[in-house]
């Protein structure tokens, strides 16, 4: 095989009470790759991303980023849950963009972006500000840096959220339906920012309903249903000639 994957999920499982939200999820994301996660509502896409970002704790299988097991340390054949600080450190290798933006409403766009670098990475303020301005410029918001989130459109807020995640210089960017809370005319600007990101070589795992984006930008598509990976493959191939019945049904329902 080629270089080891950046993200490796092996038979990952997760229950909420008696409900099995993830079962036997195995997938890999190589460095520089853009993988799109698609599937019907409730299929576990969000849950999987949240496990990767350790907002949720998986309960079966294994998750590794850059070869490091997430959430646990193994010693003498036994697992010790990592302390909060270690988890915070592991989280820094992933950046998360939420469906509902989740910007900090009491901070301006710029303050949102510099918060992580200054507090979590302890970078000097001037350096963090310079970098944040560059990132805001990159998502087309240089002249909105002193606006509070409430004064920004949904598309602008989501682009600030992307800049905020990028400011941590994560190895892997996670997107959870970043455009589904947006008015149709604002979707394009956010997808555009993500496309630029993909072109610059970022590794991305994107949950999306935008099949056009998945086809054009995604290297691979993973289709999930009922907590399991049903099928995965190169974007073009999966969209045009899906192997599984369930994938075909889903695609024909979405494409209308």
């Amino acid at each position: 095989m080629s270089a080891p994957p950046l993200l490796r999920a092996w038979r990952v499982g997760k229950s909420f009470g008696t409900h099995r939200a993830l079962e036997d999820v195995t997938l890999e994301v190589a460095r520089g790759e853009v993988v799109c996660l698609i599937g019907p509502s409730g299929s576990g896409k969000t849950t999987f991303l949240r496990c990767v970002n350790q907002l949720e704790r998986y309960d079966a299988g294994g998750l590794w980023i850059g070869g490091e097991l997430l959430g646990f340390r193994e010693a003498g054949g036994r697992l010790h849950p990592l302390p909060e600080r270690e988890i915070a450190r592991q989280r820094r290798s992933t950046g998360m963009v939420f469906q509902r933006f989740n910007l900090f409403p009491h901070m301006t766009a710029l303050e949102n972006v510099i918060e992580g670098p200054i507090r979590a990475l302890r970078r000097p303020r001037a350096e963090a500000v310079a970098e944040a301005r560059r990132l805001l410029d990159r998502v087309g918001l240089f002249n909105r840096q002193d606006y509070y989130p409430a004064a920004l459109s949904g598309g602008q807020q989501q682009r600030v959220a992307i800049a905020r995640a990028l400011a941590m210089r994560p190895e892997l960017m996670l997107f959870d339906e970043p455009t589904s809370a947006l008015d149709p005319e604002l979707v394009g600007e956010v997808l555009g920012a993500m496309r630029d990101l993909a072109r610059s070589g970022s590794t991305m795992l994107v949950v999306t309903h935008e099949l056009g984006f998945a086809r054009e930008v995604g290297n691979r598509i993973v289709f999930m249903d009922a907590g399991r990976v049903v099928e995965s493959g190169p974007s073009q191939a999966l969209l045009t000639s899906p192997q599984e019945e369930r994938t075909r049904n889903f695609l024909s329902a979405v494409l209308g």
Partner: protein
Amino acid sequence: MSGVPAGPAGAALRPEIDIARLPHVRPVHWGRIVTAAALLLLLALLVRAFARGQIAWPVVAQYLTWRTILEGLLNTVLMAVAAMAVGVVLGVLAAVARSSPNPVLRSAAQFYAWLFRGTPVILQLLLWFNLALIFPTLGIPGLWEARTVDVMTPFLAALLGLGLNQGAYTSEVVRAGMLSVDAGQYEAAKSIGLTYGQSLWRIVLPQAMRVIVPPLGNEFIGLIKTTSLASVIRYSELLHSAEDIYYANNRVMELLLVATFWYLVLVSALSLGQMLLERRVSRGVARPAGRR
């Protein structure tokens, strides 16, 4: 106006109307005028009653700035501010402990709120003040020791009593504020690598402030008046000073009015401060212009 036909048909007949160009008639609010007149009348009657009552107004004016009264006023302000400071610190700590994942901290905070909200504050004041009855000396064995009666001054007893009690109530206010912050904010904070403490301090508490400040202002106003209870342990706050004077000169009503005046002044000043603070903590919300 009478010539304009009513209804949609009429509107269609006059398409040239531009509401910016015609003079606007200000509606008359008869209800407001009547209630205002009634209230003014009541107020006038009240003022007249007091003016004619057996009150020596010159005495009120004289004692308004009497040295003992002003000292009492200062002590009231000092105690209220100090006890509120203790209360806010304890309240935030207890609220954070209440929402922490650590079950020991959670129960401890719950016990604290239960204990101090469960007993009358005047009782707590008396307990602290009389601590010497059960612990004649206080100290760290071998390092420092002192007689309890020397340490437990009326000031310290009042500060402990009022501050601990205030902390218990404040913790509930702060907790409600923290619960009002969207769970997505904790997650966003975590996702940029902040620790739990950093998320609370930088992200959650500042947003909770918007919900916390109005009831906290209310608590502070309550506390200013509760300081008067400290007169039972001989802390010479405003009411205690007024009482001291009227025991000597029998001008009971006059001195109570003096105290009334100063309490109202304090509370008004506080309300103004609260208004300014509320404006400050609602940064980022309800800011139509958007710019800083």
